[in-house]
Symmetry: C2
Subunit: 325 residues, 2 copies
C-alpha cells in the first residue's frame, strides 16, 4: 500500500473523467485478474461510483452487497438495489437489522452508538461476508478528503482488513483497492456522471454514515427509528424544493406535554433543521417561509404517531453543528 | 364557609370597582377586627390585589410575606418587594431556596415536581410561618376561575388550612378570607387599576405557579434554573414588543452537539415558544420575523453559559400545549 501522505489529489480542473474511468478499470482488472472482488454499496456517491467502476472492470467477478442495517431512510434499500439493477448491476441485499439493533440496545451516548454501528458493520456483518466469501480483493470508496482528515488526525486511521476481522499475518493475499482515493467529492460526482449513473445518485446530498441513528437522541430502537424515518420523509418531501444545503429531522428523548382529544398526552418532539452552507464548516438556518414551518408541524404531528411538538432550529454553526449528535 | 357552588360571579359589566373595594375593605375589617391577618404575595395580579385590599383594611395588622423559592424570574423577589414598598406596603422577603431545591432534588416527573413545589410552599414554608405567627386570619387570592375549575373537577379542591398543616379540630378560630372569589381575571385587573397599583402589576401576563420549574425539562437544580432564567430574561426582553399572548424559554434535558473554539462541545438546548392566543385554550405560534429568531439564538448561545442550540416551536395547540411540562 502507498503511504497516505504520498497520495496526490487529482484536482477537479485536471480531471478527465473518461480517461480516469478507463485507467481505473484497467488497474482493477490487472489487480484482480481472474480472482473475485467484493464491495459494500451504501447508495452514497462514493460507494456507487466504486461499484460502477468495479462492475465495468470485473462484471460477474465483483460481488456487491448492500447491508440493510435498519436505520436507513424510507424505502432506501429497495430503491438502491432496484436502481443498480437498472444499470445491470446485481446487488445482494443482506438483512442485518437484528445485528444492528442488538448492538445499539441500551446505548444512549452518541460516541458509543456510532462505535456500535461501525463495529457491527465491519466486524459482525460485512466482515463475516468477506471472510466467508472467496474474495481476496476488496473495493473501497476511500476518497481524498478521508486521506486528508486521516493525515490531519481528524479521522482515526483504520486498517480496513483488520477492521473486518481478517488476520493478515495468518491469511495472505488480501488486497484493498481504492479507485477514487485521489478525488474529492465534486470530482467523484463528475466521474459518476460520466459513468452514466442517474443524477439522483451522483448529485445526492450528503447523508451521515450512521444514518438515522444520528437523528435519534437517546436509545436507537426500531420503534424510535420508525418515528424519525416518517418525520424525515415528510421533511425531505416538503423541503426538497428549497435551495438549502441540507435538511433533517431529529427525534428528541425529552418528552413534552401535548393534548389529543381533550386529554393530556405526554408525547415526543421532532426538531427540524435546514441549513444554508457551502461546505458544512459554517452554516446558517435557512429562512423558510413561516407557512412551510407550520405545515411541517401540522404534517408531522398528524402523520407521525406519538409526536405532539415540532421545533425549527434557528442557531448558526458555530456554536451549533449540522447534526445534533 | 360558603358552599363553592353557591358563589356567584360578579361579571365584568356589573363590576363597580370603587364600590367593590369599599365593600371588601369593610368585610375584611369586620372579620379581623383587632386581630392579625397574614397573606402570601407572589407578585401576580391576584395576590397583589388581595395584598392591597388587606393593607387598606388592616394596615399594620396585615403581615404580608413574599416567599423566595429560587425558581422565579430574574430580579423578581426584589422587584416585587420594592414595588410594594413604593405603595406603602411592607413585605417580608423569606428566603426558602434551600427548602424548595431540597424538595426538587432528583425529581424529573412533571407531576412530582409540581407536587413538591406545592407541598413545600404550603406545608413546609408558608405553613410554618402561619403556624408560628399569631395570625388567625388568612387572606387568599382565590378567584372565580379557581371556583369553576374546582366545581368542574379540573382542579382538586384543597382545604387551605389543612394544606398549611393546621389541624382545625385542635386549633380553633382560624378564618380564610377570599376577597376576590367572585371575580375573573379581567375583573381582578380592573380592581387592581382602581387600587392604583402600577400597570406592570395589574396588567401582568400570566405566569405559571411553579414558575421556572415549569420551564425546565428534567431535574430542577439551582444551576439549571439559572440557565433558563437567563434565557427567559432575553426572550422577554426581545419579545415584549410583540402583540403575542405569551412567550417563554424552555431548557431541555437532551444534550446536543455544539462547537466552541473549534472543539466539540456537548451542550444544552433552549426551546423558545411564542403564542398567539385569546384564551390559552387554542393557540398558534407567532410568526416572528426571522431576524428576531436568529437574534434570539445569537444572544442566548452567547450570553447563557452552556447553551449551544436554540429552537423555535412551530406547532399549534392542539396537539401542543402552551407549556412543555
Amino acid at each position: 500500500m502507498q503511504k497516505l501522505s504520498d497520495i496526490k489529489e487529482i484536482k477537479l480542473e485536471d480531471l478527465k473523467p473518461d480517461a480516469f474511468i478507463k485507467q481505473q478499470i484497467k488497474e482493477i482488472s490487472a489487480a484482480v485478474g481472474k480472482g473475485v472482488a467484493i464491495n459494500a454499496l451504501s447508495g452514497g456517491v462514493d460507494s456507487s461510483v466504486v461499484t460502477m467502476l468495479g462492475h465495468r472492470a470485473l462484471g460477474d467477478h465483483l460481488r456487491t452487497v448492500f447491508i440493510e442495517n435498519g436505520i436507513m431512510r424510507e424505502g432506501e434499500p429497495e430503491r438502491v438495489v432496484k436502481l443498480f439493477k437498472g444499470l445491470g448491476v446485481k446487488v445482494e441485499l443482506v438483512d442485518a437489522k437484528k445485528e444492528f439493533f442488538g448492538a445499539l440496545k441500551g446505548l444512549v451516548d452518541p460516541e458509543e452508538k456510532r462505535e456500535a454501528i461501525t463495529q457491527t458493520f465491519y466486524k459482525t456483518v460485512f466482515g463475516r461476508i468477506v471472510r466467508e466469501s472467496k474474495a481476496k480483493y476488496l473495493l473501497q470508496g476511500t476518497n481524498y478528503t478521508d486521506v486528508e482528515e486521516t493525515v490531519a488526525g481528524i479521522k482515526r486511521q483504520h486498517n480496513i482488513l483488520e477492521q473486518l476481522g481478517i488476520d493478515t499475518k495468518k491469511e495472505f493475499g488480501y488486497q484493498v483497492l481504492e479507485p477514487i482515493i485521489q478525488l474529492r467529492k465534486t470530482a467523484v460526482r463528475k466521474v459518476g456522471k460520466a459513468l452514466e449513473v442517474p443524477e439522483e445518485i451522483y448529485n445526492r446530498p450528503p447523508f451521515p454514515g450512521p444514518a438515522l441513528a444520528t437523528r435519534v437522541i437517546g436509545e436507537v430502537t426500531p420503534k424510535r427509528v420508525a418515528t424519525v424515518r416518517k418525520a424525515t420523509a415528510i421533511v425531505e418531501e416538503e423541503l426538497q424544493g428549497t435551495k438549502a444545503f441540507q435538511w433533517l429531522a431529529i427525534l428528541h428523548q425529552d418528552k413534552v406535554t401535548g393534548i389529543r382529544a381533550n386529554k393530556r398526552d405526554f408525547g415526543q418532539q421532532i426538531e427540524v433543521r435546514c441549513w444554508d452552507s457551502k461546505d458544512a464548516v459554517t452554516g446558517t438556518p435557512t429562512e423558510l417561509p413561516f407557512e412551510t414551518l407550520t405545515r411541517l408541524a401540522d404534517r408531522i404531528t398528524s402523520e407521525v404517531p406519538g409526536v405532539v411538538s415540532v421545533t425549527y432550529n434557528v442557531t448558526k454553526k458555530p456554536p451549533s453543528t449540522i447534526e445534533a449528535i
